[in-house]
Every structure is written in structure tokens, then in C-alpha cells.
């Protein structure tokens, strides 16, 4: 992407060159808004009639009842980037907003919002607000490009799970407006009843194949996200959560027993010929839409094409497996605020005062075709399909948006493919994936146990407090205990801690407490110190002379 950055810069430079050459010093590389706001020209909107002005907590609109929009320059401008579904809705609000508050709303249609934003925001060209899915926000938060969002007294009007999705390290970064998750579809001509378990799916599906009505038991539209509700029914998961409810990259579930069992279920089906060998998304959707399979797991994005196919369908919750009912991944669409904008307060006020209203939220819901994250709109939803999606997602897991997730997707996919194509057993494939992902997450020093502290420089490290210093790395003994040393140290007071994988992400302090206090030890005279670490209790024993 640096190429793109460079390219943008270069284009700007060339423009500046051209300008400088003919016009002299006036070159200003500001990107003009691509879409002109629907400004005052055609909008003498009587604000009182159709503006969704929020409850009059404050003095409302300065006498704008029937006077046209004041000719004076707008008091402010808000730039929003949204995709082709959301942009027209927001664009339609611009005249009302201008009339009500004399603030210009510039909506720009973008397709690769996250990538463009990542380039534009650091150079000060980003919009004030972007509308994206929560799983795209993780890297933006890590890069410091997003601002905290305070929903104020409207916080209770949004679904907790949706807010949780864009909460990183306890800070809320979005105002959610829609959630999305997959659900279980069946062809009601072939399978009138919703299957309660995956065994029921198999029995019914095989009976239909036996009758010659169908080709396969079920369509499979993908290896990872799309098959996740099946994996969870067998007890599979991706990341566990720590006590505080944050995703824990140390607890990886790709090679968990449940995940292996889920993959085995699919691989066995392929081997027996009851599941398609190829899991291409479009091809498998076509299987369902032509009545060649009775079941499919699909998301709300496929609703339109399934409806258009004319197949009689019904939507239900996911069948249960040994670990209970299958849970899909859930995603949240939300409004995020550019942390580098100088309009953060205005953007916040726009979201809480203007967008978080029944009218706007309902308009967004109607155009988006996703269950609303705004409770009043959600409760008013009367589309039975979307209601069924909501029900199927009631136990959904929010898709982890942490950076470590980037290491998961590709390796997870490869492992499932290898198991499906019978190149490896599900156990081998998933175990391999686990090893690969773990080593990516912890980097070069994966598996290292170290005792970083104030003694390290004396023990041959480049400096103190270095969790990745080889010189003080511990070695594992036959008794399962890790040891290091002896190190010859001068008299004095020292502090140290236990750190895993060459970093601070996982570290133990006094009493084996995670992120606990430093261990302290003193030497009255110069002497040799050694350390013993017990991985079962996470306790460190310091042997001083």
C-alpha cells in the first residue's frame, strides 16, 4: 500500500509542479470533495415539517420554520464516506441537516473505505466519519486513526452485542446501526421441518439422495466463516476470552477438539460423496437455488438471490451438535469517527443527535436489509426473514477484530481445505494450523520463556528489561521446570518478571499473577543468581546466594 500512498503523493506533487510552473506558489493539494453536497440551491426545506430534529433538549433551530436556508456560509462541514448502500440514504439527509443546523453534510461514495481511509487519514485528507464493518476497525484502532465514541444517554438504545463488537480495550469506537449473521436455510419442498441436530440433517439429506431428489445433503459455501456455525455446534472456537471479556490471542481454538470434530464431519461427508467436493460460494448457492440440495447456511446478503430464485425456503436456527446449538459469527456495521479530524466533537454530535433517531435508523434499516442494532427500530421490524436471522444470531459470537485474527484466516482455510481434500487427517491439518498461527502471533521468539529484569545488562543482554534477550532465556528441564542462570551479579537490588514468547503480551509477576507486580531480590555481596519457573503455577523461584 505504500505504493498507493506514494502514488497519491506523486500525483499531488505533479499537480503542484504544474500549478507552480504556470501559476506560481498557490499550489494547494486539497482534494476537492468528489460529490457536491446537495446545497442550498434546491433546498428551501421547511425544517419543521420533515426534519427528524431530535427532541428539543436545547433551543432548536433558529427560527427556520418557513424561511429558506440562510444564505450565510454553513457553520461547519461534515464529510462522510459510505458504501453504495448507505451513501444515498445519508445523502438524502443532507438537505434536512443543513436546514436544521446550518451544517453541511458531504457524503462521498467509496468502495474500499477502510483501505482508502488508511491512506487518506494520516495525511489529513480523511473524512470525519466512515461507515464500515467492525472487523475492519481493528487495524484502524491499532494505527490510532479512530476516535472514541460517546453515545451519552442513547447508549441504552443500542444492542449490547453490537456495542461490544467495536469496543477495543474497553473503549467504544463506533455507533452501531446494523448487525449481520448467517442463518440456516432449508428448502421446504424437500425438507419441510427444521432439523434439530446435525444428525437430523444427515438422515434427512441422505434419505432425499436415496429417493433421487437431490445430489447432496447440504451446500457448503466456504471453509471458515461460512462453516463456523457447524464448527461451533461441535465445540470449535477461534479465540477464547479472558476474565475481562477481551479476546485472548493466547487461547487459540483452531486446533481444539471441537474444531477438529466439525472439520471431520465435513471431510467425512465429502469422502462419502454426500457433500460437494468444491465449496465455491456461488456454485453452492446455485445448488440450493436449483433445488439440488435441501440445506444451506447463508447470510442476509444472499437473501435477495434466494428470494429471486423462487425456491420455497424457510429460515431457522442452526442445528445442534455435541456442544449444543451452532452459533454463527456476527458482524456489526457502524459509524466510526476519524481520530485525526478536527471535527470530532461535531461528528459525535451528528451521530448522537441526528443519526440515532427512529427516522434515520429506520431508513438505514430499510435500505440495508440487515437487522438493526438500534433497539427501537429492531423492535419495530416486521420482516419475518430478518426476524429469523435475528433469532439465529441470538447466540452469535462477535467476529474477533483483534490484529491476531489476521494470522488466522488464511491458515484456517488452508487446513480445512487439506482435510476436505483428504491430504491430511482433520487432526493433522488443524494441529498444523494451530502451530502456524501461534508462531505468527508470537513472532520469532515463539515459545521463549524469559525473565526480563533490571539484572539483564549484567547477564549479557544489550540492556535491561528485554523479554526477547537470548542470553537470559530459560531452558526446559526433564522435570517440566524452566531454568536459567546462574548469572554473576554485583551487590544491589534487582527486579524481574516472567515473560512469554519474547514479548510482554503474556507475563507473570509476584504470586504467578498475570500482569502482576515485579519480583524483587537483593544481593548483599556479589554472587550468582539463578531462576526456576514452574509453568503449572506460573511461579518464579529466585535462588540468591
Amino acid at each position: 500500500m505504500f505504493r498507493r500512498t506514494a502514488l497519491v503523493l506523486l500525483i499531488v506533487i505533479v499537480a503542484a509542479f504544474a500549478l507552480a510552473a504556470c501559476g506560481g506558489g498557490a499550489a494547494e493539494p486539497t482534494a476537492a470533495p468528489t460529490q457536491a453536497p446537495a446545497a442550498a440551491t434546491n433546498t428551501p426545506v421547511p425544517a419543521a415539517t420533515n426534519t427528524p430534529v431530535p427532541a428539543p433538549t436545547n433551543t432548536p433551530v433558529p427560527a427556520a420554520t418557513d424561511t429558506p436556508v440562510p444564505a450565510a456560509a454553513p457553520a461547519g462541514t461534515l464529510r462522510v464516506w459510505a458504501d453504495d448502500t448507505r451513501a444515498p440514504i445519508l445523502q438524502a439527509l443532507a438537505p434536512d441537516f443543513l436546514a436544521a443546523y446550518n451544517i453541511e453534510l458531504v457524503v462521498e461514495l467509496r468502495s474500499a473505505i477502510r483501505d482508502d481511509f488508511q491512506v487518506a487519514a494520516p495525511v489529513g485528507e480523511g473524512p470525519d466519519i466512515i461507515v464500515i464493518a467492525h472487523d475492519q476497525a481493528g487495524t484502524l484502532v491499532e494505527n490510532g486513526l479512530l476516535a472514541e465514541v460517546d453515545l451519552g444517554d442513547k447508549a441504552d438504545m443500542f444492542l449490547d452485542i453490537a456495542k461490544g463488537a467495536c469496543t477495543f480495550d474497553g473503549v467504544l469506537y463506533c455507533m452501531p446501526y446494523a448487525t449481520e449473521n448467517m442463518a440456516f436455510f432449508r428448502n421446504t419442498d424437500l425438507a419441510p421441518d427444521a432439523p434439530a441436530t446435525w444428525d437430523d440433517v444427515l438422515t434427512t439429506g441422505q434419505a432425499l439422495i436415496g429417493e433421487g431428489k437431490t445430489t447432496y445433503v447440504m451446500a457448503v459455501t466456504g471453509t471458515t466463516y461460512d462453516a463456523y456455525p457447524l464448527f461451533t455446534a461441535f465445540g470449535g472456537y477461534i479465540f477464547g476470552k479472558d476474565a475481562a471479556g477481551n479476546w485472548n490471542p493466547e487461547d487459540l481454538g483452531v486446533d481444539s477438539e471441537g474444531m477438529v470434530a466439525g472439520v471431520k464431519f465435513l471431510a467425512d461427508g465429502v469422502a462419502a460423496g454426500t457433500l460437494p467436493k468444491d465449496w465455491d460460494w456461488a456454485n453452492n448457492h446455485a445448488l440450493f437455488e436449483t433445488g439440488e440440495v435441501p440445506y444451506i447456511m447463508a447470510g442476509p446478503w444472499a437473501l435477495d438471490r434466494i428470494r429471486a430464485s423462487g425456491v420455497s425456503y424457510a429460515i431457522s436456527n442452526f442445528p445442534a451438535g455435541p456442544a449444543g446449538e451452532g452459533a454463527p459469527f456476527a458482524g456489526t456495521q457502524g459509524f466510526f469517527i476519524n481520530g485525526l479530524s478536527d471535527n470530532v466533537l461535531l461528528a459525535q454530535a451528528f451521530l448522537t443527535e441526528f443519526v440515532a433517531t427512529d427516522e434515520v435508523m429506520t431508513a438505514l434499516y430499510e435500505a440495508g436489509g440487515r437487522p438493526s442494532a438500534y433497539i427501537p427500530t429492531l423492535e419495530a421490524t416486521d420482516d419475518p426473514d430478518l426476524a429469523a436471522f435475528g433469532e439465529a444470531g441470538a447466540n452469535a459470537t462477535m467476529m474477533p477484530a483483534i490484529a491476531a485474527m489476521g494470522s488466522v484466516w488464511g491458515n484456517w482455510n488452508d487446513a480445512v481445505v487439506l482435510a476436505r481434500d483428504a491430504k491430511q487427517t482433520p487432526e493433522e491439518a488443524m494441529a498444523d494450523a494451530g502451530v502456524k498461527i501461534r508462531s505468527l502471533i508470537s513472532g520469532a521468539a515463539a515459545g521463549m520463556v524469559n525473565v526480563p529484569g533490571s539484572y539483564q545488562a549484567a547477564a549479557g543482554c544489550p540492556g535491561d528489561w528485554q523479554p526477547d534477550c537470548e542470553a537470559t532465556a530459560m531452558t526446559k528441564g526433564d522435570d517440566g521446570l524452566w531454568t536459567s542462570g546462574p548469572f554473576a551479579l554485583a551487590a544491589g537490588d534487582y527486579e524481574c518478571k516472567v515473560a512469554m514468547d519474547g514479548g510482554w503480551a503474556l507475563n507473570y509477576g509476584v504470586d504467578g499473577k498475570k500482569d502482576g507486580d515485579n519480583y524483587k531480590f537483593s544481593l548483599a555481596a556479589a554472587g550468582e543468581v539463578s531462576f526456576v519457573y514452574d509453568p503449572n503455577t506460573n511461579l518464579l523461584t529466585i535462588n540468591v546466594p
Partner: protein, 533 residues
């Protein structure tokens, strides 16, 4: 330069140039310089040092060329040279530079951009209070805030004046509205939240007298007794957390405490050979390198040879004057060349789908056997890629060979026929050697192109099928470039890593460069070309 020495003086004025023309020239250059200086200072201020330096170099060059009479001939090349520096040399140098930095997700901003972000962070001290607020504005642009704390107590806060407890209806304060907020304050106009928020300076305004309790707006629903959280100690290059005294030192582009707490965001900085080291030694990145490299050599070699010989064969057939329907057939044969590869690769992917693809369906219907597992078995996937590339590549070779065949003098063939040479002998002794003189460099170019043919590899099946038991995410048809892409941009751990990607692309550059040099040297291509031209 011979041209320069003819008119060569170091003076500014040309031999037949009027003073007016000289003046205009100097003024135009001065204007240009003003623009450059403005731009360069901006580039430096935002931390784009390298770009700034390159611009200075270009500006100096342009100045010299347009001012000095001796450099007169270069005026015709000035624009071209500038673009060469800007678009070719600068990106190359920048890639080298990035290879030694941690540029990537988590370290996207320059330090100049990251520091203000860190420093603008506020915190609420333990004894600090938080309020809901309503803003009022005076005619002189000053603000007043009506504050309500969680217990319901109300205060009036103005700029540079002590925050005082106040009630609606107090002197100068209007009657309360439905929510208990005064409708007016003497000297001020009440604003709604949005209108107040439209003033970008409002969040920085301190309400309350200096040295006493001060309140700042932090969000539309809250104003609080905020303090700046971090201060930057330039001498130590460290950030100090005022809320608890923690010291965060600059560790490779991240402010981190001794015990591992870090502040987001990190910033770009140089980290030496770490990216190269990581790639060469870290088992999580190195992966099945030998296998990938091997395929990376097989793929372009077979591609170039197969496309060349197919293209040559067709060209020779068409070289026969009596070939029927030559033009129409040739037009059809050119079609693969005219469809954008992006589209045809995806179409091929669909057609070669082992289960649903038209090719395997046809095989199944006609012969009653399963078609080859194109995307599942390594050897078939590689075959599929080579076939697709043959389809994509032969029209180019056909065109090139057709042209080159025309240039071979017909009398050579006549003489050979007189000598009784066979068709094969004529091809081997006349056609091929003379053709290679012209086409040889193109073959090498084609080889280099295919060596890095990311489009085909990635669009076809993203390098799949995966290699079982590999230590990284790698596939049987992955070439170095697609493998690096997966590593540095898709699954390499912490998001996008430009630094690592640059380091590896330099390694690829060295491999390709060495190979090309080797091929040119040992085929003596250039010598023969010069002899024959």
C-alpha cells in the same frame, strides 16, 4: 555533451537572448521555487523527509538547467528527468528505505503525526468531576457552559472566570426549560449541541479561571475536569503518563514502559536489518522456500518455452503465402491477447473448477470418467496454470515471431533449398538462429515478467492447493511474490507489513537482476544483435 560545449558558457544569458526573455525566465523559475519551497516545507513538517529531499534535488536540477547556458540542451529533457527521479529512482530508494523500517499496521504514522495524537489524550483524575453541558455563546465569541453534575447540582462556567454554583432564575440567568436548563444567560445566546460542536475550537477551550478548577468538553454528553495525560520529554525521547508517573521509552517505534505497557499508536522508525533477518531466519516466515523457489523457476521457464514454440509454430504456418483463410484465423487466434487477463483468468478458474467447471462436466458427460482434479492436486494445479498461461501468452509470441520471420531474407532459404537442405535443417540452421537474434531479448523480458506473474497465480487459485505440513501458509502454485503477499499483507500476523514486504521485494529484485544479467552475458545476445544490425 557535445551540444553543450558548443554554446557552452556558464552564464545565464543565451547568445541571442533579449534581457526581457532572461527576466521572464528568472521570474518563472522563482515562482516555481516558491511552490517547491512551500511543498517541501510541508513535506518536512509532516515527516516525509525522503520525499522532501528528492524534491529539493529535482528543484536544484531544474534551476541549474534553466539558469545555466551550458546546461541548455538538457532543457528538452528536464521534465523527463524530473519524472525519472520522481517515479523511478525515488520509489526504488524509498523501497530500500522502507525495508529497514517497521512501516506497517501499528506503525503507520510518522512520529510527527503520532506524537500530537498521543499528547492530545486527556484523563480524568480520580477526584475529577464529570458534567453534562449546555453551551452559550457571547457576541465576542466567548463561551459559557451550564454544567449539571451526576448529583444534579448545577454550575455556571465561563472562560477565565471561576466556576460558580448557579441556579436558573439567579441574577443574569434565565428561567429553566423543561429539563431545568436556563433558557438564556445574560450576554450569551444559547446554542444547541450540534451548533456548538460546529466550532472546532470548542473542545480546546478551558472553562474556569487559570490555576483553579477548569472544565473541558470531551464529548457531546460530557464535560469534565480533564488533564493532559501524557507529556513528551524530548531529551529522553520518552513520554510520561501524568496520571500515574509511568515513563514510556521509545522502543523501536513504540512508546513502552519497562514492564511492557505500550501507548497506541506506534510510529515509523528504522529498525536495521530486522526485516531481512526475520525473513531469512524466522521459521514462521521462511516456510517451504526451496519448493517455492523451484516452482518459481519452473513456471516462467516452461511458460516462455511453451508460448514461444506454439507462437512460432503458428507464425511459420501463417508465413506460408498459400495458407487459406489466413486473416480470419489469425484474427481469432489473437483474441486471447485482446481480452484483459484479469477477466480471462477468472473465466478459466470457473471452467477448470473440478466439480462444477465446464471442462470436467464435459469430460464426465462424454467419457463417463472424472476429469482431472485441477485445483486439488498439486501437479494438476501446476499444469492448469501453465495451460492458462499458454493460452494467455502465445498470441504475443505469434505476433513477435511473425514480424521477425518477415525480416529473414528469402534468398537464404533459396540457397539452402539449392544445397538440398531438409525443412528441419532449414528451420534449425536458418530460422531459429536468425529469429533468436531478434526475439531473444523479448524472451528474457517475458521470463522476467512471468517470474513475477502475480496476477495469474493469485487470481487463479491464490497459490493453492495448500502444501500439507508446511510451516507457513504456502501453496503448491505459489511463486515468491504471491507467497510474500500472503505473508506481508494477508496473514503475516499483525496486519499489513510494508517493511517486511519491501525487504523481500529487494531479495526478489536481486534474484531477478542476477538471473537477467546471467542470461544476457552467457547468451551473448547483445553482441549478436549489434553484429547483425
Amino acid at each position: 555533451m557535445t551540444l553543450a560545449t558548443k554554446s557552452g558558457t556558464w552564464g545565464i544569458r543565451g547568445p541571442s537572448e533579449s534581457m526581457f526573455a532572461v527576466l521572464v525566465r528568472i521570474i518563472l523559475i522563482a515562482l516555481f521555487d516558491v511552490g517547491v519551497i512551500w511543498f517541501v516545507s510541508n513535506a518536512f513538517a509532516k515527516g516525509f523527509t525522503q520525499l522532501g529531499i528528492v524534491l529539493i534535488v529535482i528543484a536544484l536540477m531544474i534551476n541549474a538547467i534553466f539558469l545555466l547556458q551550458k546546461a541548455y540542451p538538457y532543457r528538452w529533457m528536464a521534465i523527463g528527468l524530473s519524472f525519472l527521479i520522481l517515479f523511478t529512482i525515488y520509489p526504488m530508494l524509498f523501497t530500500f528505505y522502507v525495508a529497514f523500517t517497521n512501516y506497517g499496521d501499528g506503525h503507520l504514522l510518522t512520529k510527527e503525526q503520532a506524537l500530537p495524537l498521543i499528547l492530545q489524550e486527556k484523563y480524568l483524575p480520580e477526584e475529577g468531576k464529570s458534567f453534562s453541558w449546555t453551551a452559550y455563546r457571547a457576541d465576542d465569541g466567548k463561551y459559557a457552559l451550564w454544567l449539571v453534575d451526576p448529583s444534579g447540582a448545577t454550575f455556571l462556567a465561563r472562560q477565565d472566570e471561576t466556576v460558580i454554583p448557579a441556579q436558573p432564575g439567579d441574577p443574569g440567568i434565565g428561567e429553566p426549560d423543561g429539563k431545568g436548563i436556563p433558557q438564556s444567560i445574560e450576554g450569551y445566546t444559547r446554542l444547541n449541541t450540534l451548533l456548538a460542536a460546529a466550532d472546532k475550537t470548542l473542545p480546546t477551550v478551558l472553562f474556569g479561571a487559570e490555576g483553579e478548577q477548569t472544565v473541558q468538553i470531551r464529548s457531546p454528553s460530557a464535560a469534565a475536569e480533564l488533564q493532559q495525560r501524557y507529556i513528551y520529554d524530548e531529551a529522553a525521547d520518552a513520554v510520561i503518563d501524568q496520571s500515574n508517573g509511568d515513563i514510556y521509552n521509545n522502543v523501536e517505534g513504540t512508546f513502552a514502559t519497562k514492564d511492557g505497557k505500550t501507548i497506541r499508536p506506534g510510529f515509523r522508525t528504522t529498525i536495521g536489518w530486522k526485516n531481512f533477518q526475520d525473513f531469512l531466519t524466522n521459521p514462521a516466515l521462511r516456510g517451504p522456500m526451496v519448493r517455492i523457489l523451484l516452482w518459481n523457476f519452473i513456471f516462467p521457464t516452461v511458460s516462455v518455452l511453451s508460448t514461444f514454440f506454439l507462437g512460432l509454430g503458428i507464425a511459420i504456418m501463417f508465413n506460408d503465402k498459400d495458407f487459406p483463410f489466413k486473416k480470419i484465423i489469425r484474427t481469432f487466434l489473437l483474441i486471447p491477447y485482446t481480452i484483459p487477463g484479469l477477466i480471462s483468468i477468472i473465466i478459466w478458474r470457473g471452467m477448470m473448477n473440478p466439480e462444477f467447471g465446464i471442462i470436467n462436466r464435459t469430460i464426465e458427460n462424454w467419457f463417463g470418467i472424472d476429469g482431472p482434479p485441477w485445483t486439488v492436486e498439486a501437479i494438476w494445479a501446476q499444469t492448469a496454470i501453465l495451460l492458462v498461461n499458454l493460452w494467455l501468452g502465445y498470441p504475443y509470441m505469434m505476433l513477435v515471431c511473425s514480424g521477425a520471420l518477415q525480416s529473414i531474407p528469402a534468398d537464404l532459404y533459396e540457397a539452402a533449398t539449392v544445397d538440398g537442405a531438409s525443412v528441419w535443417a532449414k528451420f534449425r540452421k536458418i530460422t531459429l538462429p536468425l529469429l533468436l537474434v531478434a526475439v531473444g531479448p523479448l524472451l528474457i523480458a517475458s521470463y522476467v515478467f512471468n517470474f513475477n506473474n502475480f496476477n495469474l497465480i493469485y487470481l487463479f487459485i491464490s497459490g493453492g492447493p495448500p502444501i500439507a505440513g508446511a510451516s507457513t501458509q504456502a501453496g503448491h502454485t505459489d511463486i515468491l511474490l504471491s507467497y510474500v503477499y500472503k505473508l506481508a499483507f494477508e496473514s503475516g500476523g499483525r496486519g499489513v507489513q510494508y517493511g517486511l514486504a519491501s525487504a523481500i521485494s529487494i531479495v526478489i529484485f536481486i534474484i531477478v537482476g542476477a538471473m537477467t544479467l546471467f542470461q544476457f552475458r552467457f547468451t551473448n545476445m547483445w553482441e549478436e544483435v549489434s553484429e547483425n544490425v
